[in-house]
Amino acid sequence: MPVAESGRPTGTADAGVRWQRPSPRLLLARRIQAGLVTGPAAIASGLVAGVAGSAALGLGIGLGLVVAGLLCERFLARRVAAWGYAERSDDLMVRRGVMIRRQSVIPYGRMQFIDVTAGPVERSLGLATVRMHTAAAASDARIPGLDQAEAAKLRDQLAALGEARAAGL
């Protein structure tokens, strides 16, 4: 079994799997979130440095932070592109991560409950995050950046599947 070029695990499981991706607007949401953090941080630290030290120092620090933010933005695009989920016949697969790649398999019968959440930025773009909970605290399965309608649909679908295949502890 060769390793796929993307570094994703390969095997029989991946053969007939159709990966679905979050909405393209997730990248916009992530950019806004990064901007909301970087912008004020750059202005504030620039001002502090400018007042305490010299104006040039303040400008330098502020610009440096902005550049760092822009570099992060490059990374954001890859991270957003790494998200994916696939509904298989008995379980849900979720993958994510660029540096540390993760892929989780959660059987429908193990889902205890499903959350749909949306932060302010996500909400303003009409996005939502679906999060699945199992009885294990370490299970980690969430799908960010789904269309709100799609998120609700996915939630109902998963809940129905979970009920049909529910297994005890």
Binding site: P9, D90, M99, R101, V105, A136, A137, D140, L169
Partner: protein, 476 residues
Amino acid sequence: MTSLPQGGLAGPPAPAEDAAGWHRLHPLSPLVRAGRHLVTIGVLVLGLLFANHNQAGGDLVVDLVIVGAVLIAGVVSWLVTRWQVAGGVLRIETGLIRRDSRRFPLSQVQAIDVVQTGLARVLGLAELRLRTAGDASGGRLACLRLPDAERLRERLLSMAGARAAAATRGPAPATGAVGPDPPGGPVPGAATGPERVLFRVDSARLAGAIVLSRAGAIAAVVIAAMATVVAMTGEPGTIAPFLPVGFGIVLAVWRQFNGEYGTVVATAPDGLRLRSGLVQTTSETIRPGRVQAVRLVEPLVWRAFGWCRLEVDVAGPRQRRENRAESQRLRALIPVGSRRDAEHMIGELLGTRRRPSRRAARRAAWKAPLLYRFLAWDLDDRHVAATRGRVCRKTTWVPLEKVQSIRWVQGPVQRRLGLATVRLDVAGKRVTASIQDRDAAEAGGILATLPDLARDARTMRGLHRGPAVSGLASES
């Protein structure tokens, strides 16, 4: 002293049973429940008297008021608490101002413990604790007479869907079995059901093992440091600020010894029975099929003696607020034992004796130079086993039917080396079987096949067990 709560409750006509099958707790329970506070306050009073004997009067009055308040609160809570078993459900009602009525469907119960604190043991009382998955606190009945508690546990367990435990219930245990203090031994065994003892801990070895454990080593170092300081300065007063810390450490070691002393593990038709404790004794029954994971722990120092520790994880409250550190600990079936003990027990629990044998690839040494020799995993038709850890080697067995989710993880270094890790999560206290640093193709194969194997194991169990509810109608 014992007359105090009884005086308060002579009024209400509350013998053991009401018409509707409601029961009261034992009249002495307020005293037992307040026991710990009373001891604390007693120590404080003594300390104050000892420290400044001239002006203790005022403090003493304050303390007596506190003691009185605690006892009165206890009596009131006793008065308003009642419980009932009906229709396969245990109901506990309590609360004076805010009525609190809780229902525990017995089919959901994971385990039932009988706990005896020191004071309760003197009085022949015991507390019954129900453990349910997910529930934050579980149910507790404090306190009942010990034979009553044992009998009630038998009854609840048999109703909880075990096999024909009713057939072995037989006559009620003789009333003479209360013996408040059997010589050094744990709770007298529940008289029902044939038991087969699997393991009995060796007290001397337990003491040695705790001294050689991390907690013991810390305690030894702290005590030695304090002694050195005193010896060098010649003034005991210099270490006074550190006394509480030292006391806490010693207490933790003591608590571990107290909790694990005299551990006896036995199998019975209603599950696995565990009894342990020196002053406070605990007796718990783990229902069959409720073990989520088994873990064998072999710390570096213990390995030199051939000792190890075997723990089980039962789905239970994720964290109890009162005692979080303790509830994070897994229940030790074998607090310390030889490898043969452990292998024997693993064979009983899982039907396998093998340790994981599929070793990690050699190139894993680049990522984990010390660790890689211990990394291994294995799979049989019912379990996955995985070993990791260098100083403290941990081997975890997870039944396939208990797997909650499967995670595949690959970090940057692993990617360069063509390795990946697969983790299996089970319900409970964050136990994860980590199949670490496998060849990427192998890890991909595990991720591809394990979900199907786990699904098959789940359906197999469902077929064999049939409906999980039985014996519920036995309650009249």
